[in-house]
Amino acid sequence: MTPSTLLAGAVSGLLLGGLYAVTALGLSLVFGVMRLVNVAHGELLLLAAYLNFVISGALGIDPLLAAVLLIPIMFLVGYPLQRWIFNPLMHMGSEPPLLAAFGLSIILQNVLLLIWHADTRVLVTSYSGMGVQLFDVRVSLLYVLAFVMAFVLIIGVHLFMQHSYLGKAIRAAAQDASTAQVMGINPEQIYALTYAIGAATAALGGTLIGMTFSFVPTSGLTWLLKGFVVVVLGGMGSITGMLGAGFILGIAEGVGGAIAGTGYRDMIGFLIFIIVLVLRPAGLFSRSRV
């Protein structure tokens, strides 16, 4: 192990952390507002990746451009899921929606298998094989793109939450649904819109996964687990916390992997997850909650 190996691990980890933040954003939003651990989020990411595979292939356009088209599509996928599956279960306690999310995860996984079979897919672009030099370290251009997009997306969602009427309504419903209802906010509508926004962010996350790595219908769990770590590190439901948490996880994995070996990357991530859960259960950035 040399200083340059550590630097390379830190730089690529930092950039990869951006991708982690993007993929965890929807999970965080849904948890922050509805207190729902959306275990189907991994499959939503994959659904987006597969839809992008179809759209970009059929239209012959760049997957990032296809992702823009995919955002409203995923929004429309997410809205009815919350409206007609999760909302009726919300008043029954935390277990029924969680079980429904499990069920949804399995159903979505099987739908993906049925339609696209189990072959490994990749979103190929002309620049997917390109790399750039950063601090004397060669890194994937896609990692850089993911990093930039994480900033743009998370800051954008944060500003939306802070300054738009809908964002304020979502925050109000998250803080106290009963009081929000008294103020004329329909919490069920807000929940459905929040889930839809979370699914819409999966459009970008799924696209980045497909462009950067490979995916099969069963890859969702990998990204769900990464998402959980980011959400817990960032503070349950904290939007801006996602960014910091993603970077921390990415750097920890990158540097830890460089020191202990790539085989221990995931273990290092989960070790941090457990330590934070024990010492600071509300997360590292919990003040900036939804």
Partner: protein, 414 residues
């Protein structure tokens, strides 16, 4: 009075004929055939979903087609019953998870009461089912489990039979192929923590010095690793001109793409297991060009039905063939031949008959008695290279179907 006695005697004789003699001449309605089972049931737990699903596609086709071919001739002749009996196949999806391969095999034996078993794919899956077959004394024939990994799990098998390549032979092919060209003989090994990754990683470590090569870097990692950046940088720093890997397809694709982004272009790459399915070429397109993988079957080999097997698969599925269609088709054929030889559904008789197999099938010659451990039959290997979306044999020259593309073109030209 005497007339009455004669009539009574005649009636008694007629009754005797009716009750005893006629049934014996009765063909279909009585005798051994009447007791014959309605069907012979074979079973397999295969990975139809999950990371190994590509293998499951080929296995399903190989097993099903072999049985369908037999059933077209009216079924399998059982000498014990002097009749042909149709063969059915029960398949369960093990979702590429070893624990499901175990429970599926138990279900096949205990609930479905199969007469014989066919294997899953890759050592963790195959061995998980095989130990259940062994415990319950139900014969199993399998492919897609390299022989030393298979024997590493249990050196002595009694009811399970494996036809696949021998890792010792397979782990020499890369060096033999590289001996035909010039390189710095420095190897970067990437092996995952699955059983065949561990076994073959060790064999390459042992074989390389004997063949005049140096393992400049050996990366080991868990299955499902997504980021290989650190490992690639180390391989690059070790100045390895040859990359040899043993990993599943999704991971192999991720590694190869990251090698491209980090501009690590070896002169030759052997992506074992991962680059074997056709999806390697469909997912990576031009970047797949030139990558090599050891093969054990090719449609041009002089084995009975080899050329038509490929055509049939591609016509049936509209997919590009894989060599696994041959070993899975053969595994089913061996089981069917053994049941025919046994003439009954007695598991011990079938098992003994499998052990006596000595025949050239579509995948090549199979003889368990001569194979390592007495329960394996090693298939001879050769080197395949992806060229323009198809695999071609590039080593040895006596089998080659195309010229060895070496060195790999620069990434910018890939």
């Amino acid at each position: 009075m005497q007339k009455i006695r004669i009539r009574q005697a005649a009636a008694a004789v007629l009754m005797f004929i009716a009750m005893v003699v006629l049934p014996a001449c009765g063909g279909q309605t009585t005798g051994p055939a009447q007791n014959a089972p309605k069907q012979i049931l074979l079973g397999a737990s295969i990975p139809e979903t999950g990371a190994l699903a590509a293998f499951g596609t080929y296995e399903k086709w190989g097993y099903t087609t072999a049985i369908d071919d037999l059933n077209k001739s009216g079924g399998l002749y059982l000498s014990q019953y002097k009749t042909k009996v149709p063969v059915a196949l029960k398949l369960y999806d093990d979702e590429s998870q070893p624990q499901l391969a175990t429970s599926n095999t138990q279900k096949l034996i205990l609930s479905d009461k199969v007469n014989g078993l066919l294997g899953s794919a890759t050592p963790p899956q195959v061995i998980s089912g095989a130990v259940v077959a062994e415990r319950n004394r139900v014969p199993m024939v399998t492919g897609i489990a390299p022989i030393r990994a298979f024997l590493g799990a249990q050196p002595k098998w009694n009811y399970v039979w494996d036809i696949f390549f021998d890792e010792l032979d397979m782990t020499q092919q890369q060096f033999l192929t590289m001996n035909t060209v010039a390189s710095n003989k420095r190897i970067a090994l990437f092996t995952d923590n699955e059983q065949d990754g561990v076994v073959m990683g060790k064999l390459w470590e042992e074989t390389a010095p004997k063949m005049g090569y140096t393992i400049a870097y050996h990366a080991t990692f868990p299955v499902g690793t997504t980021d290989f950046g650190d490992l690639i940088r180390r391989a690059q720093a070790a100045k390895a001109e040859v990359v040899i890997t043993q990993m599943i397809t999704p991971d192999a694709i991720a590694l190869w793409r990251q090698m491209q982004t980090l501009n690590y272009r070896p002169k030759a790459a052997f992506i074992e297991k991962g680059s074997e399915p056709a999806q390697w070429a469909t997912a990576l397109k031009d970047a797949a060009q030139g990558v090599m993988v050891t093969g054990y079957w090719y449609p041009t080999l002089p084995y009975p039905g080899a050329s038509t097997l490929r055509t049939r698969f591609e016509k049936d599925t509209n997919q590009t063939y894989s060599q696994h269609i041959a070993d899975t088709y053969t595994a089913a054929q061996i089981m069917l031949d053994a049941i025919t030889s046994a003439g009954s559904l007695d598991p011990n008789a079938i098992n003994t008959a499998i052990g006596k197999t000595d025949k050239t099938y579509v995948v090549g010659p199979v003889n368990f008695a001569k194979g390592p451990g007495g329960h394996t039959s090693a298939l001879p290997t050769f080197m395949l290279q992806w060229q323009n979306g198809q695999t071609q044999i590039v080593y040895p020259s006596k089998l080659s179907t195309a010229k060895f593309l070496y060195p790999l073109p620069a990434w910018s030209k890939a």
